[in-house]
């Protein structure tokens, strides 16, 4: 099916118009908060659906290539869609549509407290700029849209700006994203200078002629820039602060989509702009990905704040995606393009899957936040009885993110495993060892992720409520449940019948790498590398359902006792069961804290205040067992101190004296005149 460019351009225009109308409408109706809220988010919903349509059309073969010379200098705004861009537009649409719809109900409680017009406008701007980032085709368009995306997301994060924690989170996010932007800017300018072109097509054509040293430098710079947006360790520190601080639908968008744009950038760098690079590029990404995956999930494991746990889990999944990209790069540098395409398919599939289930989880966390007014898991519990449908959706999300069959997370993690295991076809010992260790890292990650989400779901939803608020929780409205139901359904469909998605992914990665992936699939099974590995997600799901249904029937046929009696939990005969007897999130994570104490470096503080009269009576006991952030200790702390010291020195320049400033201007003018001669 060939979709001609007119259709594509129409879709693009409609999408941008919708976002524009949403932003404008939200701002114009600022006087009436409810109207502003509904207009802003409804148009965002429509725009996201159009983005989804645009992306699907792009995956089906449609392309765009449009340049508008006037808006930006040096080449204007250049937009284009190829399969990779279309795929990421689909990811944006898939997450943004449910999130915007959800926001219509969710933002009701911000009425009167915060600016809903600002939220609506910022959201529309955010979505539009993200879509345009993946469609950008020259450097300035990309950078301008990137910056717009960062600014819009900053305003969204700062929605609850009166909260001290949010203020700090916003500040860290602002600094990190602009540090990344600076790296991107320098990298882009170096590349543009070396290839004499600001167009991506120009870079692709001339990449081979750039000297290896400069290419390595550009790779490192762009890697740092895109990596900090993606949230890889150790550039991740903004993630666990910004994602919890933002409203839940914004967290869903940031975690589900925005950090994937860092992956988009890295994929472009590795396979498009810089051409085939030396083997250490792939190895470096693989190692960074493995470290991010393991450390991300370890930090998620000990966290009691539900949204921060989800944020760290995003770091973990970005690590997994990055491992796939690194593996693909390694395969390509060793001339195994089919395997490279396979690894890239695994990686991109995980991008889509993570977008779906992470946004589902964040929307669920938002529902919990709205019902119980707390993010602290230590105060939740028993919500499965009070919010039964949300519980089912959250459970589906948890099982999916733990990569368990028959849901979607399993398929992409299975594919990632297969591509890592196939590394034995490379015959370089160091690379083989690196891949072996990364297999171990991925396995450890998946085990820990399962444990982490048992904690997240089990402590929040099961057993008895641990606080008043949790005891009075109520199910959220249909407008908030419907998007969650849709995302949960997608988790199931993508897991059981991945055929359609795999076809698109296959064509995407073969376009990018230049060779079809080593993958055969039909509606029942997936085969990797010619019988190296095989899985049939459909039959697994069918068999499980059939068995689970037939066991009760078999029990009835054998005339077993089907009586059921309800009584209290067994507590060794004690008189009363309260929530204080339950396991808490901290206690659940305690074995992990002890086993991995080398990483967490917990700081134990025990203060006992005795009664003034006698040491045999205790007034209060205060116990703290917190994990120290090794990144602050090792990297950011010293860096902050260094910058402060430098800033103190530079401050001497700012004397406050107008005459000195006039002298500076004179000196600068003279120097420029000398240079310009």
């Amino acid at each position: 099916m060939i979709i001609n460019q007119t259709v594509m351009l129409n879709l693009l225009a409609a999408m941008l118009a919708s976002f524009g109308a949403g932003a404008a409408g939200a701002l114009l109706s600022a006087r009436w908060p409810r109207v502003s809220r509904v207009i802003g988010h409804s148009f965002a919903f429509v725009g996201s659906t159009l983005a989804l349509a645009l992306g699907l059309a792009g995956l089906a073969g449609g392309t765009i290539s449009v340049t508008v010379a006037q808006i930006l200098p040096v080449g204007g705004v250049a937009l284009g869609i190829d399969r990779l861009s279309a795929f990421f537009v689909v990811v944006i649409g898939v997450v943004a549509a449910p999130s915007s719809f959800y926001a219509i109900g969710y933002t009701r409680e911000y009425e009167g407290r915060h600016s809903l017009a600002g939220m609506g406008a910022a959201l529309n701007l955010f979505l539009a700029s993200m879509s345009l980032v993946v469609m950008a085709r020259n450097a300035l368009t990309f950078l301008a849209m990137w910056e717009a995306m960062s600014l819009a997301s900053y305003f969204l994060v700062m929605t609850e700006h009166r909260d001290r924690e949010t203020e700090r989170a916003g500040w860290v996010y602002f600094v990190m994203t602009h540090a990344g932007f600076a790296c991107l800017l320098v990298g882009f300018l170096l590349l543009a200078g070396a290839t004499n072109s600001m167009e991506f097509a120009g870079w692709q054509a001339a990449a081979e002629s750039v000297s290896p040293a400069v290419r390595n430098l550009i790779f490192v710079l762009l890697g740092l820039g895109f990596g900090s947006k993606a949230g890889v360790i150790p550039l991740h520190i903004w993630l666990p602060q910004a994602h919890p601080a933002a409203p839940s639908h914004v967290s869903a968008l940031m975690s589900g989509v925005m950090i994937k744009l860092g992956i988009y950038g890295l994929a472009r760098v590795a396979f498009d702009w810089l051409g085939a690079g030396p083997s250490w590029w792939g190895g470096a990404l693989l190692v960074v990905g493995a470290v991010s995956a393991v450390l991300g999930v370890l930090y998620a494991m000990i966290d009691s704040d539900l949204k921060r746990l989800l944020a760290y889990s995003s770091v973990e999944n970005i690590g997994i995606i990055l491992m796939g990209v690194g593996a693909a790069m390694s395969f390509q540098s060793y001339n195994l393009p089919a395997l490279a395409a396979l690894a890239l398919v695994a990686s991109l599939y995980h991008v889509l899957n993570h977008a779906v289930f992470k946004s589902l989880l964040f929307l669920g966390a938002g529902a919990i936040l709205q019902s119980t007014h707390t993010r602290n898991m230590e105060e939740m519990g028993g919500l499965i009885k009070r919010m039964p449908q949300t519980a089912v959706f959250f459970l589906i999300g948890s099982v999916a993110i733990a990569a368990l069959p028959p849901f979607n997370g399993f398929i992409s993690e299975w594919l990632t495993f297969q591509s890592l295991l196939l590394s034995f076809q490379i015959s370089a010992k160091v690379i083989n060892l690196t891949f072996a260790l990364s297999v171990a890292a991925l396995a450890l990650t998946s085990g820990l992720a399962a444990a982490c989400f048992i904690k997240a779901f089990g402590i929040s939803f099961l057993a008895l409520p641990r606080s008043e608020h949790a005891g009075h929780a109520r199910e959220v409205g249909v407008a908030m449940r419907a998007p969650m139901a849709l995302l949960a359904g997608m988790c199931i469909v993508l897991g059981v019948a991945p055929l359609a998605v795999l076809r698109f992914l296959s064509s995407t990665s073969s376009e990018l790498i230049g060779s079809a992936p080593d993958l055969h699939f039909n509606w029942t099974s997936i085969v990797a590398n010619d019988s190296f590995a095989i899985v049939s997600p459909l039959w697994i799901a069918v068999a499980l359902v059939a068995l689970v249904a037939s066991i009760p029937i078999a029990l009835r046929i054998f005339r077993t006792n089907t009586a059921r009696r309800y009584y209290e939990t067994w507590g060794c005969g004690r008189a009363v069961q309260t929530a204080r007897f339950e396991y808490t999130a901290t206690s659940f994570a305690n074995p992990f804290k002890r086993v991995f104490s080398l990483l967490y470096r917990p700081v134990k503080e025990l203060e006992i205040e005795f009664h003034p009269e006698s040491r045999f009576f205790v007034r209060t006991i205060s116990y703290r067992n917190e994990a120290r952030s090794i990144f602050y200790d090792a990297i950011y702390g010293p860096m902050n101190r260094l910058l402060r010291a430098l800033a103190e020195r530079v401050r001497l320049l700012q004397s406050g004296n107008v005459h000195v400033y006039l002298l500076y201007i004179l000196v600068a003018l003279v120097v420029l005149l000398i240079i310009a001669r």
Binding site: G382, I384, L395, V399, A402, A403, P405, F410, W414, Q418, L421, F424, L433, A436, A440, A441, A443, L444, G447, A450, A451, I454, F457, G458, L462, A463, L464, S525, S531, F532, A533, I534, V535, S536, W539, A543, L544, L547, V548, I551, P552, T560, N561, T562, A563, R564, R565, Y566, Y567, E568, T569, W570, Q577, F581, E582, Y583, F588, A589, P591, V595
Partner: protein
């Protein structure tokens, strides 16, 4: 066609009906080693039959997850029984998944069992879930690296292929990587099925329980399903160990005679491994919980050495 269906049915019945017999045999052997006569080898069947006739007392704090988990866990074990090549390398349903799929299915069962442990709101259940998960998480890397070692030797992760090519290779046992991978996988099997020295399956002290603590709230038919599933898990792991690492005797066709020989060979191999488990359980004490990660890291090192040896011996 009928042969293919028949072999799957036989395999399913073998696992479903033979698992309690395996459990009974291990207990009987342990009793004999302890100098007592011990229960009959058919005792687990009697226990299960009795449990199916009792009522189920369910805690008021639980939710549907508590009632759903026993059925899911039993189903996962039955599905895994269809995947593992026990009698023949031509397992018709082998296309459902490779060894990685098998490991993740078992993780699915553990996931829901841990949730059920948290569901009743008792401290025992939470403790069991928490401990079970740290052990499962730390056993995962060993499993995957051992699989990597096997895949390196064979060039495939499909269970049928591994058994078939292993049977063709006459120098298998001389391969040091192979033996290292076997030891590592054996330790993981002990950890996953909750045997000594990681977890004592017959303890009464809640503070020493791991698997048992998660199922303290179960009674009646639910308990029967979970006990049955635990027995099936042990049988599956022993069958995997036997056929992946000592694949001789496994039939390569679906003819009756080779399959019968394969059955006898399997009984012999599983019997030997069960005896090894029983002897190990009788002669070692349970490890303190926070010494278990050391044991699992040791098994991980063995598996990694197996992989490295395959790289250098190629």
């Amino acid at each position: 066609m009928t042969g293919r269906i028949l072999i799957e049915v036989i395999q399913l019945l073998m696992v479903a009906l033979g698992a309690p017999l395996l459990m009974g045999s291990v207990r009987k052997l342990k009793a004999r080693l302890q100098g007592r006569r011990g229960p009959s080898v058919f005792q687990p069947y009697r226990d299960l039959r009795k449990l199916l006739a009792k009522e189920a007392v369910i805690s008021e704090n639980t939710s549907w997850i508590f009632r759903f988990t026993p059925y899911l866990v039993a189903s996962v074990m039955l599905l895994s029984a269809l995947l593992v090549p026990m009698l023949s390398t031509r397992t018709p349903l082998g296309f459902i998944g490779n060894i990685i799929v098998l490991m993740y299915l078992l993780l699915l069962a553990t996931f829901f069992l841990a949730l059920a442990g948290l569901d009743a709101g008792s401290a025992f259940g939470g403790m069991g879930s928490s401990r079970e998960m740290i052990i499962a998480a730390l056993a995962e890397p060993t499993v995957m690296i051992a699989i990597f070692a096997i895949a390196l030797r064979v060039g495939s992760t499909s269970l049928d292929e591994i058994v078939r090519r292993g049977a063709d290779d006459s120098l298998l046992l001389l391969n040091p990587g192979h033996l290292l991978a076997f030891v590592a996988f054996f330790i993981v099997a002990l950890a996953e099925t909750g045997r000594l020295p990681i977890d004592n399956p017959s303890t009464h002290l809640e503070l020493t329980m791991i698997h048992e603590a998660m199922i303290l709230e179960y009674s009646g038919r639910h308990l029967a399903l979970i006990e049955w599933a635990a027995a099936m898990k042990l049988l599956l792991f022993l069958a995997l160990l036997s056929n992946l690492f000592f694949p001789w005797g496994v039939a390569s066709t679906l003819e009756p005679l080779p399959v019968a020989i394969a059955f006898a060979a399997l009984v012999l191999k599983i019997g030997t491994l069960a005896a090894a488990v029983a002897i190990l359980e009788t002669s070692t004490a349970k490890l303190r919980l926070f010494r278990v990660p050391e044991l699992l890291s040791g098994s991980f090192t063995l598996a990694l050495l197996a992989v490295i040896s395959f790289f250098f011996v190629r």
